[in-house]
Amino acid sequence: MTASAHMQAPDTDPGYNFAYLDEATKRMIRRTLLKAIAIPGHQIPFGAREMPLPYGWGTGGIQVTASILGPDDTLKVIDQGADDTTNAVSIRRFFHRVAGVRTTTRTAEATIIQTRHRIPERPLTEGQVMVFQVPMPEPLFKLEPRLAETRRLHALGDYSLAQVKLYEDIARQGEGGSSYSHPVMVNHRYLMSPSPIPGFDNPKLHMSPALMLFGAGREKKIYAVPPYTSVVSLDFDDHPFRPVRAPHACAACGSTTSYLDEIVTDDRGGRMFVCSDTDHCAENQMARKAAE
């Protein structure tokens, strides 16, 4: 049964097909997704469509979300960890308008989470789907400008270039040189860009019970990490990968384990650190209030 056969919610815009994209496009993207899931970490080209938002704002992620969204899904959208920034609010409102789906800011309630730059702090569960907005899917692109050559390197499993990049980062900046978009080996085979998530979130990809889908609209590529797949951050034996977080407690909820944003509060050097994941922070604050 196709999604459009469902009764649409009363405030859904009747001028659009369910979830904006036409059914043929969604089928094409779903076929690409199946291929991507079958070959973890391998980039699959797809015919990305023009979307009503500019490249760089999540055109890839939004197409993936549109293709997998059903009327019973609950959608959460994260932008840099927050649910209340422009990008997150617009995409949430967009899907509410064209698909009539329920939206939420709670990680626990969401079945599909579209995200830019973060993975939620709360552990994901089986059945949840993460959709990443990816600006540059090719992990080797800064090292090898020819795409034909990068495809060859992937085919041969030749990732010495990425190792050279890591060497350079350590030589120039010491430990933690690459604090975000740190490349990972998926299923011991393909090198993958985890989209620009902080290195802090890389371990959450490893053996995750949730399905991870990555959509790059401008570059027209989709890739995936199926549930319970090995994802290992690239490192050296004597410089093991270590997720980095600011050595502070969240000013709002007091968490000492979550990833923090640094917020400049005045022009005299004042700053505070708060959780980047707003839902997680709110949950913590609520739990603290209940305990008091």
């Binding site: 030749d158 050279v164 030589a171 034996d237």
Partner: protein, 256 residues
């Protein structure tokens, strides 16, 4: 003993031009062979075909590996050929920019082949890079600088260090001293000569500099119009050239 590299009846034409016209050439372990000839004589093409970078239209190239097994270079699968190129072979380009990664530090350039060979220990890679920088007479303290900070001669040394760090058995060089000023050329040739002797490398190099050929090579191959016109021990070819073209080539060298 068998040759380390054998080119058999190689032919390659670019349109009407015969770049290689039935060329056969053998290189023996530990031997340094120079290919000389004027521009357009096919010497660089021969080098590229023998190094597996260009496919011949006829003939084959055999490489005898350390275990003595013969491998047809152009029939190898791409993955195998790449492994061979970075484990057993080295290639020094005329222009250091073609052989180096200009955006990567000197240490990273030297370490790349080690990492490609599976090196995953940062400290060891750095130590090897520092060691090789001093072996090619560069200051190891500058290993974190980008190649563009180095002079042309130093870039060429860096390229040589990058090739030799994995201890290849066979090195190809395309005009390794081209474009450098004379005193730098002399020091570089000196360095190459001592490294080659020390490591027992087999080297096949292309040059149009007869003096460089005399200094480095045990054997000289003279090419013209895609054919080998004369071949023999370096001193014999240079002191007693037989083919009229070789005589012209040797006579053209200006005595200082």
């Amino acid at each position: 003993m068998s040759p380390i590299l054998e080119g058999q009846d190689l032919a390659l034409r670019f349109g009407a031009v015969r770049a290689l016209d039935d060329v056969s050439l053998s290189l023996w372990p530990g031997e340094v062979v120079a290919i000389v000839g004027e521009s357009g004589s096919g010497k660089s093409t021969l080098l590229r075909v023998l190094a597996g970078l260009m496919e011949p239209q006829a003939g084959r190239v055999l490489y005898h590996d350390a275990e003595g097994a013969a491998q047809d270079v152009h029939a190898l699968r791409e993955a195998e050929r790449r492994t061979l190129m970075r484990r057993d072979w080295g290639f020094v380009h005329q222009n250091a920019r073609d052989g180096l990664r200009m955006g990567v530090s000197a240490g990273g350039n030297i370490g790349e082949r080690l990492m490609a060979a599976g090196g995953r220990h940062y400290g060891n890679i750095r130590a090897a890079a520092a060691e090789w920088m001093s072996r090619v007479e560069m200051d190891p303290a500058r290993m974190d600088e980008a190649p563009r900070n180095f002079s042309g001669g130093m870039q060429q040394r860096l390229q040589i260090a990058r090739c030799l760090v994995t201890r290849p058995r066979l090195v190809f060089m395309d005009e390794p001293t081209g474009g450098l000023d004379v005193s730098v050329q002399a020091r570089l040739l000196d360095l190459i000569r001592s490294l080659v002797a020390e490591l027992g490398l087999a080297v096949l190099f292309v040059t149009h500099d007869i003096a460089a050929a005399r200094l480095l090579a045990h054997r000289i191959v003279v090419m013209r119009h895609g054919r080998i016109v004369e071949e023999g021990l370096a001193d014999r070819v240079l002191d007693d050239p037989r083919h009229p073209y070789t005589q012209l080539l040797v006579a053209s060298v200006l005595a200082a």
